[in-house]
């Protein structure tokens, strides 16, 4: 085996490890808002994201917003479901505990939906920011 081929193999292995670590980072950043930043040592940012996004999600549930099902026959509902999914483990817990049923007649229903949807979308942005930091783009 030549040095060149060893180097190539070593680089490929490093790239695989890096992409594996990046995928894990993205998974963690999605699952727990702010966890990606905490992992990368950006403690202040991570704590702010964790607090703000959890407060938004809990407020959305408290305001009787709905966690939408992934109904592909209704495109807007499906988009809202994808946005809800963005917040990670809190979404999973809410689904498991049967929260987020939504009360259409409640005066705060639309506000609740807005808080829930935006919390998920912001967490997608936070996850992308963690990815950018990890790859050295920021």
């Amino acid at each position: 085996m030549t040095i060149k081929s060893m180097t190539t193999k070593s680089t490929a292995a490093t790239a695989r490890t890096d992409s594996g670590a990046l995928a894990l980072l993205c998974l963690v950043a999605w699952a727990v808002p702010g966890a990606g930043h905490l992992w990368l040592g950006r403690r202040q940012k991570g704590v702010v994201f964790l607090a703000a996004l959890l407060v938004m999600f809990v407020l959305g549930l408290w305001l009787e917003g709905r966690i939408f099902p992934l109904a592909l026959s209704e495109p807007l509902v499906a988009l809202a479901a994808i946005a809800n999914f963005g917040v990670g483990v809190p979404w999973l817990l809410a689904r498991m505990l049967d929260l987020g049923g939504g009360t259409v007649t409640a005066v705060t229903y639309e506000y609740g939906n807005c808080f829930l949807i935006v919390a998920g979308l912001l967490n997608f942005l936070v996850m992308l920011d963690a990815y950018d930091i990890a790859t050295g783009r920021k």
């Binding site: 703000a52 506000y111 808080f115 935006v118 912001l122 942005l125």
Partner: protein, 57 residues
Amino acid sequence: MTSHLLLMVVFALLVSTVFAVLLRDEPRDQLWTGARMFAAFVGVGLLLGWLMYPLPL
């Protein structure tokens, strides 16, 4: 908590906090950006509210 204004202010506060921390690295810059963004959210919200006031619903 059914005050539309209060809910709008809370929403603006949380969103502007997240955006300010995402966009800026220094705490001083974050505070300044967040404050401006929060003021813009609330100001535009109030303005749009008053513009829509005469519209029948």
